[in-house]
Symmetry: D2
């Protein structure tokens, strides 16, 4: 064994007493691209919990390409998520972009997401490696599989073994889609590492109509789960509107993932 990511224990990452990622059960994470209001978040979360979604996602610190684009509700949004988590009893996954917020995350966030834009931010990875929080490490839009696993290794090496990988599309010449979803990552990661891998079809497609088909494909290819942008009212989503699906579509995806269809 050369790398920690090859460690031959089972590839399970435990989130809480009820939830394990990388086991037999496929995990579904879902929620709004960006948290907009407390009431809408609560309403969405209640429906998600009801339909069997395992983890609530929601953007609050948004690393947007332009500094003039909406950057998220910030701390206020994080507080909404924390409150909804408590009331609904659903774990949350939230992106961390600035290490100075780490303390707020440690006690209140179940899974800390490192976004694609920060996969090569090794200083952030090293700091997260010193915690024992589950880390959802998204693949950079231009990272090879090997670079991605080595980014995970930066976390593992510091002592944190709770790393979950997330394929979310890579940059190619195709312009009809936001990114090209690379599902070959699933058999590769399963063969060469012992880390769980989930798939984000939303950011890859950038188009609502593709999400259900690609979710099925990811599960069929052996993905340990999905993370999907979904809202009660997708058409009023603050950002990523075109790729946010409604809850009926999500319900079908959850059922497929859980083997109920």
């Amino acid at each position: 064994m050369k790398y920690l990511y090859e460690n031959n224990n089972n590839r399970e990452v435990r989130i809480n007493d009820d939830l394990v990622i990388g086991g037999n059960r496929k995990v579904v994470m879902a929620g709004p691209c960006t948290v907009s209001s407390y009431s809408e978040l609560l309403a969405t979360a209640l429906r998600l919990k009801e339909m069997g979604v395992d983890v609530l996602r929601g953007g609050v610190f948004k690393p947007r390409k332009s500094p003039y684009d909406y950057q998220g509700l910030g701390e206020e949004g994080l507080e909404y998520l924390i409150e909804v988590r408590k009331i609904v009893g659903i774990p949350i996954v939230v992106e961390l972009t600035d290490i100075s917020y780490l303390d707020m995350y440690i006690d209140n966030v179940d899974i800390i997401q490192v976004g694609a834009k920060n996969m090569f931010n090794y200083e952030l990875l090293k700091r997260l490696g010193k915690t024992n929080k589950p880390i959802l490490l998204k693949r950079s839009m231009s990272a090879t599989y090997e670079e991605w696993l080595l980014a995970a290794e930066y976390i593992l090496k510091e002592g944190n073994t709770n790393v979950i990988l997330c394929e979310r599309g890579i940059r190619t010449f195709e312009t009809s889609t936001r990114y090209t979803l690379d599902l070959q990552a699933i058999p590769y990661i399963h063969k060469f590492s012992n880390l769980p891998i989930i798939v984000d079809p939303s950011h890859a497609a950038g188009n609502r109509y593709m999400i259900e088909d690609m979710s099925r494909a990811a599960i069929a290819a052996g993905s340990d789960g999905l993370i999907i942008e979904a809202e009660l009212n997708p058409d009023s989503a603050i950002c990523d509107r075109n790729q946010t699906i409604d809850l009926d579509t999500l319900d079908r995806i959850v059922n497929y993932s859980k083997g109920n269809n």
Copy 2:
């Protein structure tokens, strides 16, 4: 309606009395990368027929990257395929690289394949458009969806409506795989065209261990079928050995595709 590929008839292409591509039944095509001997081809074809494979594939004119690489058995190989087709009673799909061989194909080959390297060879497409043979049009490793559909349009415009598309991976920066299989092509093609689309996981992966997972993914994403490199003895394959699967693996893929699992 702007393009013929949007034609709103059903997207079925009929191969013969028993076989339709683009209908409810998923189609599986399989066989050796390169035809090596008559006896081996016959033995493989008999097993494929038995397990429910719909079409036998086999390379005989191989457009190899180096002129010093093995270029296939040529006409002799085509004769083997035609003979096996007759004896076993299985349709064949064969790549055409030189229009001067068209006459041999017209009467004896069920589906004429245009390889990825010739997708932009519009003169070849126009000539095939003047026939009424089913054409399997592979996506160039660097074609956008739109360019691919417009290549199909070159065939359709000449009067041949029997075009089947085949996604086989596009060129990206990832080097662990031969190409990146772009399954988002499936929902795109189904939404914006009325042509059937099948998937070739073999050339995209370039690695045997990925083929089964990616075949499942393609079917789950709605692909109308698969085309797979498989042999009785994959380890003795003349070319593409690393991506050629054995017949047991193929059997599982056929069962999954046909809904038997």
Copy 3:
């Protein structure tokens, strides 16, 4: 020596008594994307000759992405080029897309161009290898250097040593330009082959304002020459209008290339 393209003679390809490509003098080829009328072609050619352009280029058989796009004047356009060649006394380079036109090219065209879309069309390359005409082999938008050299090898192997390579941009994720011009190809080709290489900045940029800077860059990097889309009235160009430069700009490029500035 493993490949013919490594042959250690000098890398010169002789076009006629006065013109050699790959020698000390940088060669400039220029002309309209698409030949539109005899009078305009003649007027342009006279100016080009005057300013020291070595070869007249002009599209007549255009492999366009859509079958409904203008496909060029065809044989009529070729006749214009041949007539202008005779009157002005300037060699011509013309793309060949269909081998059935070869006879017309053999006696009347100085350099036969194989376009990027046909670089992987090995049947065409093999046929051109049986002639002794200078062949301008454009790099496919998705070919590695090695694949490109091996495509050249298909021509060389048949006995035709008159191959000139042309870098014209590769496909990447950048969308502000048509392609990404890969000038690293120049030192690579000079190091690993003995073929001359010229650069087409027009198709790569797709934007007029970039052409002069990129032409200088190509020459400074050691390119053996340039091929540029230029017209008397770029704004009335039938196609590729945005990348066609005027003759004043071309004049500066010729002077830079010839070392007169």
Copy 4:
């Protein structure tokens, strides 16, 4: 005017009384990939100063792909650079990967480099925007021109107008080179922004033999300068050995850049 990067002042960034980037004089930055010892750094810097190199570069905090790769001398190396800067009287450019080191850089480093891996690290950019230090912002290996300019905007918006862009190659399918150097970035950046742009041919090529040709190409295309990995003894370089050039080659590049040849 929509963005600060379009600001129509001249594009000059002043480093000190003697040095301006973006003016008429081309700027050359050079030095070791990684600082290895004080004596070697001093010896190299003295030679660089002598031959007219404007800025000394040297890696000390190295964001390497594997956590097991050599990560640089860290603070010790930074102290060497600061000491050599004082003795030789040459400005230094050093990469900053962790904001916690900012104080050490503010007083002692002339230009703070943001590496390609951190171009999307907006939190870092915002913090650097609150200083008034010149920032060398490298293009991410997968950033479009627009994303790169918007990353610069994150710095500019906080009040720091001293941003210098650096093209260093993008990720493509070509594997013979480390990255593909995209010189079309130069005319684009000059047209659509008012920021200076320099070029790093070393990381793009990954091969020593290409550096001189590509340096000439960058200057000829209008680059405001170069940043090059060069050492007294390239063959003993700790990292990036294959792309580190010797000082004789660098001397020719400096002369070309300064118009002395």
